[in-house]
């Protein structure tokens, strides 16, 4: 007894409670953030060359739609997802592959034969034959896939 303590029992307990409580709280917070955020940032899968069909299907000068299925793993569910690309060739030797997803907000674009343009039904985005923006809100040209030809079969590089 006698001399006053620098750190009273009350203050010690208070500091201990806040300290330990804070530590436990931090533990929950870190776990929760990792648990919620990390799986969302996982990328789909590795890149692969998908065979999409014969070159003979492509009409010269007209974007031709090819559809194919890719295997996807979302969470605990394995699924197949249909992917479509427009293939354009002007000379029958070089090919370009364009995504059919509008660069504005992700709707599916369609090739309109009469107008020789791609049109997006959602907000009237219009792209030309090569995927460049003609009018409407899209901020950039259509995305492209790497494409290659082997034994008259077209391949596009998907995933990643």
């Amino acid at each position: 007894m006698g001399e006053p303590n620098q750190l009273s029992r009350r203050n010690f307990m208070q500091t201990a409670i806040w300290g330990i409580g804070g530590f436990i709280g931090l533990g929950y917070a870190v776990a929760a953030i990792a648990y919620v955020v990390k799986p969302s940032l996982k990328t789909q899968q590795t890149q692969t060359w998908m065979r999409i069909g014969p070159t003979s299907k492509v009409e010269l000068g007209i974007p031709t739609l090819f559809s194919f299925n890719i295997e996807t793993q979302t969470g605990w569910i394995s699924n197949t997802q249909e992917v479509s690309v427009y293939i354009l060739s002007n000379d029958g030797r070089t090919y370009i592959a364009m995504s059919n997803i509008c660069t504005h907000l992700g709707c599916h674009i369609r090739w309109i034969d009469q107008q020789e343009q791609f049109a997006c039904p959602c907000h009237n985005g219009v792209f030309d034959k090569l995927g460049n923006v003609v009018s409407g809100p899209p901020p950039r040209p259509l995305d492209r896939y790497d494409v290659k030809v082997e034994n008259d079969q077209l391949y596009v590089l998907v995933g990643g």
Partner: protein, 219 residues
């Protein structure tokens, strides 16, 4: 700065008075057995936090329940920890709550004027057991399926109403998708609502009446 803010808040809400009533109230000299209520509250908080996190991935259908639980346990970062905390916290909850009740019985803390605290505590015990019963089915593995088969059969044993009771709990005569989703609904909506309400009343009364002192010989 912080002092200014608390003053601003206090002027409008009397938050300091509330804080003092809750955390700086006078308590008699007691022992470690008197910490079990706080321990139960902490465990309840743990179950709430980890339970909410589990629902972000868990899907209560026969197609996905088992796989989504496996996904949480093996794929999601720290998913094993979140599920583990919920799983072991659940068992610990039952243990702690029961010891808490025994302490109240042995020390006679349920007596006047604390009867209503005791009543809410008894209902809280039933709610906690309900949590355990409904939560057990959700992983949808062999153990949970058969445990629920047995558990609901037991509910079916009373004469006259037994069969109705069994069917109402199962949502039909068998344990199916209907059973799983109603157990899930009860586990995450009905029981938590009851729990929060009852804990509110329970704690209000604990603070209002003060906690009981240790019983003494000749008093």
């Amino acid at each position: 700065m912080i002092a200014k803010l608390t003053h601003w808040l206090d002027e409008r809400t009397s938050i300091r008075q509330v804080w003092e009533a809750i955390f700086l109230r006078k308590v008699p000299k007691v022992n470690w057995w008197f910490t079990l209520g706080s321990a139960s509250l902490f465990l309840a908080l743990n179950q709430g936090i980890t339970g909410i996190l589990l629902t972000l991935y868990y899907v209560p259908t026969p197609d996905h329940a088992y796989d989504s639980v496996q996904y949480i346990t093996t794929q999601v970062p720290l998913g094993w920890l979140v599920r583990g905390l919920h799983h072991w916290g659940a068992s610990l909850m039952i243990v702690v709550v029961v010891i808490h009740m025994l302490r109240v019985i042995i020390f006679g803390a349920y007596k006047f004027p604390r009867e209503v605290t005791w009543f809410t505590g008894v209902i809280l015990l039933l709610v906690v057991i309900g949590f355990g019963f409904t939560g057990y089915l959700l992983p949808w593995d062999q153990k949970s399926f058969w445990a629920t088969t047995v558990g609901t059969r037991i509910a079916g044993t009373p004469p006259l109403i037994g069969d109705y009771l069994l069917r109402i709990i199962r949502g039909g005569s068998e344990i199916t998708a209907v059973t799983l989703v109603r157990f899930f609904g009860v586990h995450v909506w009905v029981l938590p609502t009851l729990l929060i309400l009852l804990i509110g009343i329970h704690l209000y009364l604990v603070i209002k009446n003060g906690i009981s002192a240790l019983p003494q010989r000749g008093k």
